[in-house]
Amino acid sequence: MTLERRNGRLYYYRSVRDGEKVRKVYVGAGEVARICYETDMLRRTDRRAHQERERTELERLEGLVALVEEFSGAAKVLVIAHLVDAVYRKRKGEWRRARSA
């Protein structure tokens, strides 16, 4: 988004992605340029704030998952150790008692 001043007059262009290229599209001049620019800026700020809120929310959810992860991982190791100690073996994803037991 660019607001340009040429010969004392405002010109507003939006940047539009067209495949790999970015094109400058003329929006308007004078008062229209200023109003469109400010509206776009408000929308952009609002969108960024919304994205930031989403990011924070996801981090919060992941933080809650991490609370359970720590001891859950420990439990998993202990279960496997007990199973192996009791001569169990994992075969095709299933724990089975080994023949030698």
Binding site: E70, A74, L78, V79, A81, H82, V84, D85, A86, Y88
Partner: protein
Amino acid sequence: MPGALELSEDARGRLTELRALSEKAEAGDKEARKELRRLLRASSPEVIAEASHIARRAEWILVKTISAGKPLMQEALQERMHQMRAEIAGENPTPLEVLLTERVVAGWLLVEVLEGLIAAQYQRDVTAHRVAPTYVIQQSRIVESATRRYLAAIRELARVRKLQSGAPVQVNTQVNILRG
């Protein structure tokens, strides 16, 4: 948030050792099996106690998060978890069963908390903003992964019981997808 909810260096070290020995023993290393047995007897109770303690603290944080300062809801959730623990652990549970019970209860609570927070957020945000599909996908992944771990925790508890009783056991897990 975690910080105080992390296992001690000592416990982590023992777990790493147990994992390595389990792998070797499973591959047929007899010395590793002996060492695994020795280490299990020596350090398992302490590690289990530490992990159980962390589990309780994690559950407390989850309860506080979802009850959002409402004492009645906090009480109700704690009572529900108390009942769940009693039902799942049964009479005279071994320390490992206690830890696995905590894991099941925490897993259940985590899924409830995640679903509750997401539902509340949608009620708040959907009318005001368009929710990005990538965001919805990420949220779904988090809940899905928590649900999967919860079900795995139930299966693992059943496995340990089977191992301890020596009797065959069938594991049925029910997932309630729709809520009334």
